[in-house]
């Protein structure tokens, strides 16, 4: 390094003196995250489609954690470009929990400063039962309307049975809310298959949608609330034995 014409030796980083508060904080919650085992081999980065986006990659990001660069980490928008897909960890020879590290970072700042789109979808879900913010009455109306159309127009399916909240149904289906909201005609083929095999099924009216943006927001409280409401409804009201994810 040259400073004012004088050659200055860069200072050695004294690892023992580093303060890595955020690392310690995550390790409290995830003791087996293995951060210190990183060999810097770069396997994570080599197979990560988010590498190089915003001039960042998983290996650099982990270095920052291990060097205690907490402020730089917490303000880095790369946490919203990484999708927490888990390919890095599954390829990592030391099984380092990079997705959980990203999740912890997402949840480290104030909730209202997280991306508006994700925040909005999470809030809608808590309020209405789906990320698209559809009141359950509208969901029920759409489902009944599409089913009626099929019964009228497709003679093979004049007995098609589609229900919401039918107590005792063996299966409960969840459905991504984009389907009933933006492409309701796409629901018909699924119902027809269920009809053909004689499935005993229903939709839940509570937290009916398959998506969960509170999870993406790293809003533990919201995520937990959605799941608890859903589980309560299935266990106590519908008493169904099987929950089927349609995606």
């Amino acid at each position: 390094m040259i400073s004012g014409g004088i050659i200055v030796m860069p200072k050695t980083i004294q690892l023992d003196e580093l303060e890595c508060e955020f690392k310690d904080e995550i390790l409290d919650r995830i003791p087996d995250a293995n951060f210190d085992l990183c060999l810097t081999c770069g396997t994570c980065t080599g197979g990560c489609p988010a590498s190089e986006q915003l001039d960042m990659d998983p290996r650099k990001f982990l270095r920052m954690l291990l060097l205690g660069m907490d402020d730089e980490l917490k303000s880095n928008p790369w946490i919203w470009v990484c999708t927490m897909c888990g390919r890095c960890q599954s390829a990592c020879p030391m099984d380092i929990a990079i997705p959980k590290f990203i999740y912890s970072l997402r949840g480290s700042g104030p909730r209202d400063k997280r991306p508006k789109g994700i925040l909005g979808s999470c809030d809608q879900h808590i309020k209405s039962g789906s990320a698209m913010g559809v009141p359950k009455e509208d969901f029920i109306f759409t489902v009944e309307d599409v089913a009626e159309e099929i019964r009228e127009n497709q003679p093979d399916f004049k007995d098609l049975d589609v229900s919401v909240d039918r107590e005792g149904a063996y299966m409960v289906l969840n459905q991504n809310s984009r389907e009933p909201v933006t492409e309701p005609d796409e629901l018909g083929p699924l119902w027809k298959i269920l009809h053909l095999v004689g499935a005993d099924w229903t939709y839940p009216s509570v937290m009916w949608a398959g998506e969960n943006y509170c999870m993406f927001l790293a809003d533990d409280e919201g995520w937990k609330y959605i799941i608890e409401e859903f589980v309560y409804h299935i266990e106590n009201n519908l008493k169904s034995k099987l929950v089927v994810n349609t995606e």
Partner: protein, 178 residues
């Protein structure tokens, strides 16, 4: 539920595993005769959540069984890599609404190139985030493929897909089995 220790007595499954079970049991009578001469090619985007993150390849193997039954073994072309080792499409983790669309599309270029290398004209992406992202990168980078739901394809193969349920099919399949 595991994460929050929420007790429950019901079991969880996916519609893909049920399709596979129903086909094996003979309840769902699907075959690929309709595609014998057409030879329309299909590929799969393995959603991370049902592949790598589910802890096994069971669901994505069932997905291949179901798709091959419906379109014919020779008309299914896998991406490389695939299943637990797939590349994320870039639409997950909230990315569709995270406010970084340019980065999301750049991320998706890896998946787009994989799909184009298969030469398939139809992509099955059984996760709504994957579905939307793959449609978006297809438009963005000029892919000529369609993204369709598995249930649409199963009904097509069984000859029960109504005209009103074909919005997302290409012209090659618009009339098949009507």
């Amino acid at each position: 539920m595991r994460k929050y220790n929420i007790p429950h007595t019901f079991k969880l499954t996916t519609i893909i595993e049920l399709y596979a079970q129903w086909i094996r049991e003979g309840k769902l009578k699907v075959n690929s005769d309709w595609n014998k001469d057409l030879k329309v090619k299909f590929t799969i985007q393995d959603p991370c959540n049902i592949g790598r993150k589910s802890g096994s390849d069971k669901i994505v193997n069932d997905l291949r069984f179901v798709l091959k039954t419906a379109v014919g073994d020779e008309n299914f072309i896998d991406t490389i890599p695939n299943r637990s080792n797939n590349f994320c499409c870039g639409g997950g983790g909230g990315a569709l609404q995270a406010g970084f669309p340019d980065n999301r599309q750049a991320y998706g270029k890896v998946k787009f190139d994989q799909i184009m290398a298969t030469g398939a004209t139809y992509v099955i992406a059984p996760c709504h985030n994957c579905h939307a992202q793959i449609e978006d990168i297809g438009e963005h980078y000029g892919g000529n493929y369609h993204v369709v739901h598995l249930w649409t394809l199963l009904c097509l193969a069984m000859g029960i897909l109504d005209e009103s349920e074909r919005t997302y099919l290409g012209p090659d399949l618009a009339e098949v089995g009507l």
